[in-house]
């Protein structure tokens, strides 16, 4: 049973209702010429029809892929342009979209359908879904946040079902749990943990709108408190957001019955757990209810999971000096192997830091139609995660990233994509910008900082207008707001010995306030 909980009311879907809607979608897609192996992109906002649409594609053997719907604060034309390259690359056989963007997406090359049109059709068609090939592609999961061509992670039925089986075992599911979620389904945590897992395992799901959750954060706890043995997956920043607004929790809400609040998709921070316990300890929240998971789309979802029912272990990273405390992400799932390797690719001992590599039956088959990229990350059955960490007593600890990934509120933003987006801002020197993240202890996520050199011949009165153009571009294209945009004098940014602009060194100098800049005053 799926409950779509919105401020305006609740909508309940039964399994029979989902099945009927799914068959209507399947019939409608088939009538539009969609066939086995075709990709269908789903640009749908939060609504009851998300799961029937997803399953309706699979009913006829097509490959669904959830994409971000148009955000309330986004320019429709900019939103479309951010997806155009991906649509061209994937060549979907059809698109299912919200009515307000249907005309925008329609260019005459492929059918763009609304869910209402599909669900209004006859059930018709086959009584049973097409037989699936275990090695066929079950779903395309696209990476989030980049402006370039998003990576389409191709996941087979075998990989997905293996993950659901082994992750269910790691969670020790009994079938009596309820999943409560506000996460968007185009994100792997929202799709796999909070949609596919309950659907395959037959667990009730309570699904909230992500934007409504932001302004009513404690509703997710109220829903979880009312449900039986609730499981709630949350990115790290959500723990801070919940803790800040604890006074909004309804007075009669006790949290002692919630099975687990699972921290995932951003670095899991012990101080965020401490804030939660400080804010909700008097409502019955206990340390053993706060759990962690290490996950990525390339393994369908979870690589490791902490043991539910026991407090998560804390440990400092090995090495000189006093490193920050880390939370254990638990043990690898059954069947998944982890290898921690040094820069030369040699496996290191337990307790030593290196790059995490993963191998196992729930690993992806490659990036969709991106063979060269796949080769750089997948070798001899091992996936190089680009995550830095160590294993101790069989438990995985993650301490950082090799990539210049900035994780803002659970979204992965790639520094090189942001920098490329700033290449043609009037007043800035092309190719002379760096983007990096700065940890924000209050929000529990990272803030984006931009350093960019001005063109020669200007003066500091131009800093404000240039910074505003940068902010406008970031907001429109990436839906992100930089904490600071620093417009620098020409030739200020530090280069590496190979001539590239050094993100690390420029970040260090920014933090030490050593940069000679035209500080933009908004």
């Amino acid at each position: 049973m799926i409950t779509v909980a919105r401020a305006a009311g609740r909508e309940i879907l039964t399994a029979a209702g989902v099945r009927a809607d799914c068959r209507r979608v399947a019939g409608g897609l088939h009538r539009q010429g969609v066939r086995h192996g075709d990709v269908v992109l789903l640009f749908l906002s939060h609504q009851a029809g998300l799961i029937p649409a997803f399953l309706g594609c699979q009913w006829i053997g097509a490959i669904p892929s959830f994409m971000p719907a148009l955000s309330p604060r986004q320019d429709p034309e900019v939103w479309l342009s951010s997806h155009r390259a991906l649509i061209d690359h994937v060549s979907p056989a059809a698109i299912i979209a919200d009515p307000e963007v249907r005309d925008l997406l329609a260019d005459g090359r492929l059918p763009v359908l609304s869910l209402a049109d599909l669900e209004a059709g006859e059930v018709g068609g086959d009584d049973h879904p097409v037989a699936y090939d275990p090695d066929g592609i079950c779903v395309l999961q696209h990476s989030s946040g980049t402006t370039g061509l998003k990576k389409g992670v191709a996941l087979s039925y075998r990989a997905v079902l293996t993950q659901i089986e082994s992750y269910g075992a790691a969670l020790e599911l009994t079938g009596g749990e309820t999943v409560v979620s506000w996460l968007p389904v185009y994100h792997d945590m929202g799709l796999v943990a909070c949609t596919v897992l309950p659907t395959v395992r037959g667990l009730p799901l309570v699904s909230m709108d992500p934007f409504e959750w932001l302004v009513q954060p404690t509703r997710v706890l109220e829903e979880a408190a009312e449900a039986q043995d609730a499981l709630v997956w949350l990115p790290n920043f959500a723990f801070n957001h919940l803790a800040r607004h604890a006074r909004r929790l309804k007075p009669d809400t006790g949290l002692g019955g919630i099975r687990a609040l699972i921290n995932c998709s951003e670095p899991c921070r012990p101080e965020s757990f401490d804030l939660m316990l400080g804010a909700y300890g008097d409502r019955g929240l206990r340390p053993a209810q706060l759990q962690t998971c290490y996950a990525m789309a390339e393994t369908v979802f979870a690589v490791s999971q902490s043991r539910l029912g026991a407090p998560v272990r804390r440990r400092r990273a090995p090495g000189p000096g006093r490193s920050p405390e880390l939370l254990s992400c638990g043990r690898p799932l059954a069947g998944l192997a982890i290898s921690v390797r040094d820069e030369d690719g040699r496996e290191v001992d337990d307790g030593e830091i290196g790059q995490i590599h993963v191998r196992g039956p729930s690993l992806f088959d490659g990036y969709f139609r991106q063979a060269e990229l796949t080769k750089t990350r997948l070798s001899d059955g091992w996936y190089a995660t680009r995550d830095i960490g160590f294993v101790e007593d069989g438990e995985v600890f993650i301490s950082g990233r090799l990539d210049d990934v900035i994780i803002v509120a659970g979204r992965n933003l790639y520094a090189h994509d942001i920098e490329a987006e700033l290449a043609n801002i009037a007043g800035l020197k092309p190719g002379r910008a760096v983007a990096f993240g700065i940890r924000n202890d209050q929000t529990g996520t990272e803030d984006l900082v931009i350093l960019a050199e001005a063109e020669r011949g200007g003066d500091d009165t131009l800093a404000g207008p240039i910074a505003e153009r940068v902010r406008e571009r970031l907001a429109q294209v990436l839906l992100v707001s930089a904490r600071e945009v620093v417009v620098l004098n020409p030739d200020t940014l530090i280069k590496t010995t190979s001539g590239k602009i050094s993100r690390n060194e420029n970040r260090r100098r920014y933090q030490l306030d050593e940069l000679k800049s035209w500080r933009a005053t908004p």
């Binding site: 401020a7 302004v215 920043f237």
Partner: protein, 89 residues
Amino acid sequence: MASDPLSELNSDEQVPERVVEVFRRLFPHYTGPVYRRLTATQVPGWDSLTHAELIMSVEEVYGVLIDPASAFDYADLGALLDDIRRSSM
């Protein structure tokens, strides 16, 4: 302070001082004037999360709750203040 706290939202020009205080706290990197036509692209750090913080903080100042379904539709700060005023009616 006005006797009816919500009456200070009626101005078509001014942003009440209490809202300005909230704004300064949430957006410490913004030092410019706070006015009704101010938009997210002009303010460092005004993203979806801080937008939600702004709404919840202003709700608490005036003791009202706005419809969460419309909470992300505002074109500028003035539209948020107008919705707060409507929510109190």
